[in-house]
């Protein structure tokens, strides 16, 4: 899991250093980080159903780590946007976020992940209580929905990939609803 999640990052870092990310490397970096962040976020959500279907305890065991990897990519996505695309200029950043809906959507989706990261340690879960912790962590679904919406809004045309991601997310939600909101995530 570790290797799988780190590989795109290693590849991106290596390509960056080697200068093989194309004409405008920071733009490519931004897009790849956003896409891999979203893939990992959806993969994290898929671990629950994968466990229910197979019973293999390996799936829930990596959930926390995978969620943190997803956040890492999206944190880098935001940092690349701030420092490389907007040149670290607050006035540019503020003006862009004020004007553009897709950035507001992305920001909202991203901010929702922050409490999940902060409460990802065992101590926080014990402190919140399992029930409340689980309810809080359903925000991951809202964040993923926001992420897909954000992707849709930045797309100039509807690409197949977007439709596939939307369908995967839809299937995850349906599975979750069918299972009931209260099924427990054993092993976490």
């Amino acid at each position: 899991m570790f290797i799988g999640a780190a590989l795109p990052l290693v590849w991106l870092g290596g390509s960056w250093l080697a200068g093989t990310l194309g004409v405008i490397p920071e733009e490519r970096l931004l897009h790849e980080l956003g896409r891999w962040g979203l893939y990992l976020l959806l993969a994290t959500l898929a671990l629950g159903p994968a466990f229910r279907l197979t019973g293999w305890p390996g799936f829930p065991a990596v959930r926390r780590a995978m969620g943190l990897w997803a956040f890492t990519y999206l944190l880098l996505h935001v940092l690349v946007w701030m420092m490389m695309i907007q040149g670290g200029s607050w006035s540019f950043m503020v003006a862009e976020v004020q004007e553009l809906r897709h950035l507001q959507t992305g920001l909202l989706a991203w901010v929702m992940l922050v409490p999940l990261v902060l409460t990802s340690v065992n101590r926080a879960r014990d402190w919140l209580g399992r029930e409340r912790w689980q309810r809080l962590h359903r925000l991951a679904y809202v964040s993923a929905a926001g992420g897909i919406l954000h992707y849709w809004m930045v797309s100039r045309v509807i690409e197949t990939e977007l439709i596939v991601l939307g369908l995967i997310f839809g299937a995850l939600v349906v599975f979750r609803l069918a299972e009931g909101w209260n099924f427990s995530s054993s092993g976490h």
């Binding site: 194309g22 004409v23 040149g87 897709h102 045309v157």
Partner: protein, 313 residues
């Protein structure tokens, strides 16, 4: 106007490398006189391509630094070859630009289908260094080689009912694999009002950086309208149709709220996807302010006198 020097880009796709080098050497020695007769003997490439090397500097050129030709030919929007910025460069070799013909019709005295050679024959090519501003918030400075569109239109004798000009790109999914997905209604169409089309700034270009137009930049014949967002400057043109009704551009058909018919560069008119107040000049870091009409206001603002540019965006 200062003569600019720039790295010579790779030889065109059309002319094999050796022939190209040979032709360049030959041209240096033989000069212009022999050119038109000798060039066809040396390669299959049409003679007009050789004229580019000595195209004189035309009016309206900017003296801003040129965009690196590798970037200008490597970072493109040409959805006929894919939606990624580097897809066109990767796939455009499939486009066959020779032979090429253009159907000129509608409200003109001499409609018909003309070969590219016929179209170019009476026009002297010149170099024009223009800014190019994409609606996505980036810009380049490109030395085009071409001639004023107005000169061509006059030759075909527009009637008094010719109020607009419609342009159409080649439609052939075998050569343009991007056309297999229905992301836009193919063929790509664009349009200009007749006075915009006749404006001396408006070019038909057949080359850039002193060489034949790379396929991914719209070979063999493309429009260049420097005061409008780049998507108006339609590529690989096969049809020019003069008409009374305002044409509907492909992007307008796809997203009427985002892409208007005029698409004049305007930092004040908001676009939901990209902030238009600033732009990134490719090759520079940071962003610069975008200018009304892409800085060509002195030349073109009169065309829109009295019009509400927010409504007619």
């Amino acid at each position: 106007m200062a003569r600019l020097t720039y790295p010579i880009p790779p030889p065109s796709e059309i002319t094999p490398k050796e022939v190209h080098a040979q032709r360049r050497r030959f041209l240096k020695q033989a000069g212009g006189l022999l050119l038109t007769t000798a060039a066809p003997l040396l390669s299959a490439a049409p003679a007009w391509q050789a004229d580019m090397i000595r195209a004189p500097q035309g009016p309206f050129s900017t003296d801003e630094p040129l965009t690196d030709p590798a970037m200008a030919a490597g970072y493109n929007n040409f959805f006929e070859f894919g939606t990624g910025k580097e897809d066109p460069k990767r796939h455009a070799h499939r486009l066959r630009t020779h032979p090429w013909s253009v159907a000129i019709g509608g409200e003109v005295g001499r409609p018909g289908r003309y070969t590219l050679e016929d179209i170019l024959a009476p026009h002297g090519l010149e170099e024009r260094i223009y800014r190019l501003r994409c609606v996505e918030g980036w810009s380049m400075v490109i030395p085009w080689v071409g001639f004023p569109l107005g000169d061509l239109l006059k030759r075909f004798e527009p009637t008094s009912r010719a109020k607009y000009v419609l342009f159409e790109t080649l439609h052939d999914p075998d050569q343009m694999p991007g056309q297999r997905s229905r992301i836009l209604d193919w063929p790509y169409q664009e349009g200009l009002r007749i006075d915009e089309a006749m404006h001396p700034l408006t070019l038909l270009a057949v080359g850039m950086y002193g060489d034949v137009m790379p396929n991914q930049n719209g070979a063999p014949l493309r429009l260049v309208v420097p005061w409008k967002y780049g998507f108006k400057s339609i590529k690989s043109i096969v049809r020019i149709h003069l008409q009374e009704e305002q044409p509907v551009s492909s992007w307008t058909a796809r997203q009427p709220a985002e892409y208007g018919f005029y698409a004049n560069v305007n930092p004040e008119v908001r676009h939901p996807r990209w902030r238009q107040a600033t732009e990134r000049r490719i090759g520079e870091s940071g962003r610069r302010r975008t200018e009304l009409f892409n800085g060509y206001g002195e030349l073109v603002a009169d065309l829109y006198a009295g019009m509400d540019l927010h409504r007619h965006f």
